[in-house]
């Protein structure tokens, strides 16, 4: 029973991280109909920036928030400089640009920081917590808390601020948004900024678990795809919930299904993508879009 609860909690912690990357994917997908394949590498690169600052002696939380600021501005600039010129191009063109970004970030990180794994510190104590009879990893609980805080912040921003409302409007109906005086291009850029910020949080929370290296997000990105597919690419809340489900299922299957173990966990994610696409292509909470012909 203890093992079960522990596995669920640590599944929720990694699931929250999958969920945030999934949320970043969904934010950009909703606004532009494009899946940003570079989302993971952008997060990885932000995490390296945090590592550089920590290495230079900057205190953890200062480095954390500085990284968020840089990631936000970086995401915004990427949209303005790289994505904007292909805004009206066919979807495949944008996808290729995103894959190009992926390769660039990956190689630049490898070139600057080498491909050798680095330990990345957790801001939370190493000693596990004991609640009742069960031990919980402090980083698991802390990461889950940080993720939930970020989600709460985004929820409040999009739900209650005028700028958040304008961003949702721009994603849904660009033509009407312009008629309301909304600068749609900038709203899309802000969306990229927020997605990069969420990704940076995810990177800094997952790095203590998987170690920091230029390829650390490739697996996470697949879990994030599974989460977004499960929750629905058109539902931000669904993507987060999908992430939590994927995280927990992954952990439980790895623990209790002997032949899967830790080696075949990633396969579970791919199997989930496949099943969702076969059974319910719009995901648990997504809307199926109907096009009139």
């Amino acid at each position: 029973m203890e093992i079960f609860v522990q596995q669920v909690v640590s599944g929720l912690a990694t699931g929250g991280i999958y969920g945030s990357v999934a949320l970043a994917l969904v934010m950009i997908y909703q606004a532009t109909d494009v899946v940003n394949f570079a989302q993971g590498e952008m997060a990885m690169f932000s995490t390296y920036l945090a590592w550089s600052m920590l290495n230079a002696g900057v205190p953890y939380w200062a480095a954390f928030f500085a990284t968020l600021a840089v990631a936000f501005v970086g995401g915004l600039l990427i949209e303005r400089v790289v994505i904007r010129p292909v805004e009206n191009a066919p979807v495949l063109t944008v996808v290729i640009v995103c894959i190009g970004l992926l390769v660039i970030f990956n190689s630049v990180a490898g070139w600057l920081y080498s491909y050798i794994q680095k330990p990345f510190p957790s801001p939370f104590p190493e000693k596990p917590f004991k609640i009742g009879d069960v031990f919980f990893g402090a980083h698991d609980l802390g990461a889950l808390g940080v993720t939930l805080l970020v989600l709460l912040f985004l929820y409040v921003f999009f739900r209650y601020t005028t700028l958040g409302l304008a961003m949702r409007a721009a994603a849904q109906n660009p033509v009407s948004s312009r008629l309301c005086g909304i600068r749609v291009g900038w709203m899309l850029a802000l969306g990229w900024g927020f997605a990069a910020l969420v990704g940076a949080v995810a990177g800094m929370m997952i790095a203590p678990i998987v170690f920091l290296d230029p390829n650390m997000m490739s697996g996470i990105l697949i879990y994030a795809f599974a989460s977004a597919t499960l929750g629905g690419f058109t539902s931000p809340g669904g993507a987060v919930l999908g992430g939590l489900i994927v995280g927990v299922v992954e952990n439980l299957v790895g623990t209790y299904v002997r032949f899967i173990g830790t080696e075949l966990k990633l396969t579970v994610a791919l199997a989930m993508i496949l099943i969702v696409l076969l059974v319910r292509p719009s995901g648990l909470f997504g809307r199926a879009t109907v096009h009139r012909v």
Partner: protein, 236 residues
């Protein structure tokens, strides 16, 4: 000086030219209507005024050139457009739709007052303020579109077939409100309308478009007496 003065307006979609240098004006506090058959270029004219289609020509709002500017900048000058098809944000609530209409304005405290004003004009929107706008009926969405435009506190209102698909009673209600706003707040109106009799009733000036050219223009009262218009558009 007229509120909106347009001269030599040309627009094309791809290779097809749809406006061949038209000229019209909306007086300050006046109502101008553009009449014409389907495909004559009425909607394109409205879209060209607020920069939604690429167009050339001289468009002056309040004496200031606005042709070639971005739609969002033109809107910020105080030109509200109720587009063909209503442009509802279908996944947002009624109130959120209205708040977006006031997005370009930055007066603190004005929002609540203007929302109250819209709910006063359209009580049904007030009853459904929390509802998702996509669940409204066609008539309610048209009211919402007009309400959203009014939230800008515009000086010029562009209306593209506001009565399309509406029950006659609802259409009459919308025209009554447009007339009230025009009279009480001196908002200029540029109206495209399929119901020619109503449009001529409401407007002080009318222009008849045929395949992208103005063929008849003048005070509405004169056009109402024009034989050609009576036969082709009024049907008596």
């Amino acid at each position: 000086m007229a509120l909106l003065e347009v001269e030599g307006l040309e627009a094309r979609y791809g290779w097809t030219k749809v406006l061949h240098g038209i000229r019209f004006a909306v007086e300050d506090g006046g109502i101008t209507t553009i009449l014409g058959a389907n495909g004559a270029g009425k909607t394109t004219t409205l879209r060209a005024v607020c920069g939604m289609v690429r167009a050339t020509g001289d468009v002056r709002f309040d004496g200031q050139r606005i042709d070639g500017r971005a739609t969002e900048d033109i809107v910020r000058l105080g030109i509200a457009h109720v587009p063909e098809g209503r442009g509802t944000f279908v996944q947002l609530s009624v109130e959120e739709n209205l708040r977006l209409g006031a997005y370009a304005r930055r007066e603190p405290g004005a929002l609540a007052r203007d929302l109250a004003r819209i709910y006063d004009h359209f009580p049904v929107l007030g009853e459904r303020r929390r509802q998702i706008a996509g669940s409204l009926s066609g008539g309610e969405q048209q009211m919402l579109a007009v309400g959203r435009a009014l939230m800008l506190r515009p000086r010029l209102l562009l209306l593209d077939e506001p009565s399309l698909g509406l029950a006659p009673l609802v259409a009459r209600e919308i025209f009554r409100i447009v007339r009230a706003i025009n009279r009480d707040e001196r908002v200029g109106v540029l109206l495209v309308e399929q119901n020619v009799a109503t449009a001529l009733d409401l407007a002080d000036h009318a222009y008849l478009l045929e395949t992208g050219r103005v063929v008849v223009s003048g005070p509405s009262a004169e056009l109402r007496r024009d034989d050609a218009i009576r036969r082709s558009y009024l049907g008596y």
